[in-house]
Symmetry: C2
DNA sequence: CGAGAATACATTGTACACAATTAAACATTA
DNA sequence: TAATGTTTAATTGTGTACAATGTATTCTCG
């Protein structure tokens, strides 16, 4: 007859090393730090880089669309986008067809960063020393978790 | 003859969906959010919960040791620990044998949270709907990445 | 021993994250 | 169409993260 783990310090489930969440938390921050030298050369933060990835591909998106893709809300995005607007990287304006929406449009200064950023993903892939198969497997796990958690 | 990817928008490596980093960033934040309801019942933030995991196991640690285990520096830990001290969850004092170090000691109010927290890991494991094998495989990948990135 | 290096923590300033609230525009439906 | 509800951003307040700097303590080695 099995018993549920006790609440004592012997409960190994309560040890940091046995948490599933902590490695994600740690790896996520370490990955961001690994980007740092490359992003600093462009004077970019990591979340700003993510916004650029979307704008380089789509040129124009609403705050809502950015939020859906990045899983961020306006509380995070509004000030972040304002800072990027100050740098002339993008443009913020209300959608005339629906004044509730704000359209974010890539400006030439933002577009010009793309050429300098295009080497970053390759650098990062080399940095982690993983086979294509391992990366593919990892991607599957992550996608599964994303769907489970959203 | 292969060419390196161009810097144009067609460079699929520059798309958000093909980044390895973004899923970690997203999963990490989603996991934290999944903890939220349970941690809120204890009036805890996620990093504070991580500190507790270590203190429940070790009772007493220096700021340096906490930082090494959580990969956080004093810039993050000092204010976080001060907030936890205000709640009487722990105690901060200089080590008499080395006045540079600060010893963090779990107090009874902090210890008493352990019993309420012990169900959290199990809840989270059920939440992600993954087999033990999948979790073990994922853990391996994460551990590999952690060592690569530290 | 004593000067300089190294260590451990605190502080400062910037930038996320995110819950909660507000406000304006739009949609719905009775 | 007018009241009600929904959607979209902005705002407010709190709490991390982290680079850069400051400061007191300890170590090291000539």
């Amino acid at each position: 007859m099995m018993h549920p783990p006790t609440s004592s310090a012997k409960n190994s489930l309560l040890k940091l090393e046995n948490q599933l969440c902590f490695p994600f938390y740690a790896v996520s921050r370490l990955l961001t730090k690994a980007y740092q030298p490359m992003l600093q050369a462009l004077d970019l933060t990591y979340p700003q880089y993510l916004v650029f990835l979307l704008l380089w591909e789509h040129q124009q998106l609403t705050v809502k669309e950015l939020g859906e893709k990045l899983l961020l809300d306006s509380g995070t995005l509004t000030p972040l986008l304002k800072r990027m607007e100050q740098r002339q990287w993008l443009n913020r304006r209300r959608d005339p067809r629906d004044e509730r929406s704000v359209i974010i449009e890539l400006l030439p200064a933002g577009r010009s960063l793309e050429a300098q950023a295009c080497a970053i993903p390759q650098h990062m892939l080399e940095r982690v020393h993983m086979s294509d198969e391992a990366i593919a497997a990892l991607r599957l796990h992550l996608t599964h978790l994303l769907t489970q958690l959203t």
